[in-house]
Symmetry: C2
Subunit: 113 residues, 2 copies
Amino acid sequence: MTDTLSLTFSALADPTRRAILARLAQGQASVGELAAPYDMSLAAVSKHIKVLENAGLIAREKDAQYRYCKLQAGPLQDIDGWVGAYRELWRDNLDQLDSFLADMQRGDDTAKQ
Amino acid sequence: MTDTLSLTFSALADPTRRAILARLAQGQASVGELAAPYDMSLAAVSKHIKVLENAGLIAREKDAQYRYCKLQAGPLQDIDGWVGAYRELWRDNLDQLDSFLADMQRGDDTAKQ
DNA sequence: AATGTTGTCAACCAGTTGGTTGAGAACGTC
DNA sequence: GACGTTCTCAACCAACTGGTTGACAACATT
């Protein structure tokens, strides 16, 4: 699970972290500002932020005792690229296409009916 | 973690499961066929497939003792939609934009320099 | 210097994840 | 009916996750 794509998907697999990203899409914010809406300890939010940072989804900038977080596009672009490979599949009517290809592969003759 | 988006991201946060999806993008396959490339027990792959199925990323069709799996586009489209909300951000030069917005929000005067 | 604010770190805990093995269900074939 | 194939299930295990609390580092203010 050390590959960057897994790290990114894993970081995004949590509603709190996605909400933090959504907040940061409107501009940078301090940890306290990010934590305010949530009914959990500051330490818990700090952990979430660390997960996002480790995934490269945010960067931090120190200013006195404040740590301002801002969104980083890179990993999101990677996700976008990954999903992009599947985009054409559903554009070309996924269900019929893959069944057909699978039948060809296996030499399945149920398609003859 | 019960929301569908989290379920999908979580299912995708594993290289084995993403490889299974990539394989299924080329056509449906049985569990045995899907397990063949991996150096792990069939039961382990069966578990991975169950995770993908629970996330709605694949569907299964029974045929004798075989279970054929095929890709389902829905959750991937949801991911695509989610990422889409951020696509415009990096299109408009993310770094400069969010710094500017954040400065406005906080009334930060470091921008004056 | 004392105090308050902001945030991280370490230790802890319960629940989940990702793998294993062994048993067995369901099916086709001999 | 016996046997081989395909796959799932249950039990188990180590590692990771997501939360808690308490201590404390770093900084501004008084």
